[in-house]
């Protein structure tokens, strides 16, 4: 029995973790998502402490730690603060590579919104360029109700 290791072949156990989740968007998030779904409007909220307008909205400002209860409608156009073109694929990506992400500071907002960039030649993307939200035709109350942002 001492030589058991000589004949053993290391095995791999293939498995998965598949626990289904249903994440609550909460009152604040639901208001944001239904605004897009029902009216194609993008709403954020303003912190009474620092005056920042958050999009997507937050219930409490992380910097000032006070509730942000003033709702503000922001533009569906904004400035591309950063972007990347992704050349690899994985199962969570909603579309095939190459795909592009951007950080978009909407006019009237302070924080930038993370989203996809589309309807353009990715080679033309530049930091600082104007982009606009393209809304999905079928909207179901998720962040994908904005299909992506496209250069204006």
């Amino acid at each position: 029995m001492t030589n058991w290791k000589d004949n053993v072949k290391n095995m791999i156990y293939s498995g998965r973790i598949k626990v289904p989740y249903l994440w609550n968007a909460g009152m604040t998030g639901s208001r944001f998502l239904t605004g897009i779904r029902d009216r194609k409007e993008i709403w954020g909220n303003r912190c009474p402490g620092c005056g920042r307008v958050y999009v997507p909205p937050v219930k409490s400002c992380g910097e000032c730690f006070v509730p942000t209860d003033e709702w503000v409608r922001v533009s569906d156009t904004g400035v591309l603060e950063s972007f990347t073109i992704v050349h690899y694929s994985h199962d969570m990506q909603p579309r095939k590579a190459p795909l592009a992400y951007g950080l978009i500071r909407l006019d009237g907002a302070d924080g930038a919104l993370l989203h996809l960039i589309g309807d353009t030649d990715f080679k033309k993307l530049k930091v600082g360029m104007k982009v606009q939200a393209v809304f999905a035709k079928e909207r179901t109350g998720t962040i994908a109700d904005i299909k992506h942002f496209a250069p204006v």
């Binding site: 029995m1 095995m11 156990y13 293939s14 289904p20 609550n24 909460g26």
Partner: protein, 158 residues
């Protein structure tokens, strides 16, 4: 719009849908040897600590109590005793498949003859009169074995 009443907001939830995380877990050489013995020879093995002499099943690399590496595989009987067991009657999602696991089933800690720890497994019966602490059981092997703990189909109550 600006001052919509709270109750006017439809509360949304976002579903994870069909997403899952695949894993390729290493079984390690100790566990692999156990599974290979199960698959190829219908044999169950444990591992003995060189210091305290406890026999652990399934085999693993380290005796936690003595903090020494273990190396000595020992054959175990395919018969043993029910240390503890219960009949699972409630439904739940199996995290490996994402769907409900069939119930009822009996889940037992089986202390195989020659081992000091228990193997956790299914029993062949859900009859409360049969599946009792102290009852004798014997491993029933699958015909087609793939190198998996489920190569033992279940333990049959003798």
């Amino acid at each position: 719009m600006n001052e919509k009443k709270r109750e006017d907001v439809e509360l949304l939830s976002i579903s994870s849908g069909e997403t899952s995380q695949p894993f390729q877990w290493s079984v390690g050489k100790h566990g692999s040897y156990f599974l290979q013995q199960l698959r190829d020879n219908k044999k169950i093995v444990g591992i003995r600590c060189p210091k305290c002499k406890r026999v652990y099943v399934p085999p693993r690399p380290v005796c936690g109590q003595c903090y020494v590496a273990m190396d000595e595989m020992v054959p175990l009987s395919d018969e043993g005793t029910i240390y503890v067991c219960t009949i699972v009657q409630f439904g739940f999602v199996d995290p490996s498949t994402g769907v409900q696991r069939p119930v009822p089933y009996t889940w037992a800690f089986v202390k195989l003859d020659g081992a000091d720890t228990c193997l956790t497994h299914f029993l062949d019966s859900v009859d409360p009169e049969k599946v009792k602490v102290g009852a004798r059981v014997k491993a029933v092997f699958e015909e087609r074995r793939t190198g998996n703990l489920m190569d033992i189909k279940h333990f049959a109550v003798l």
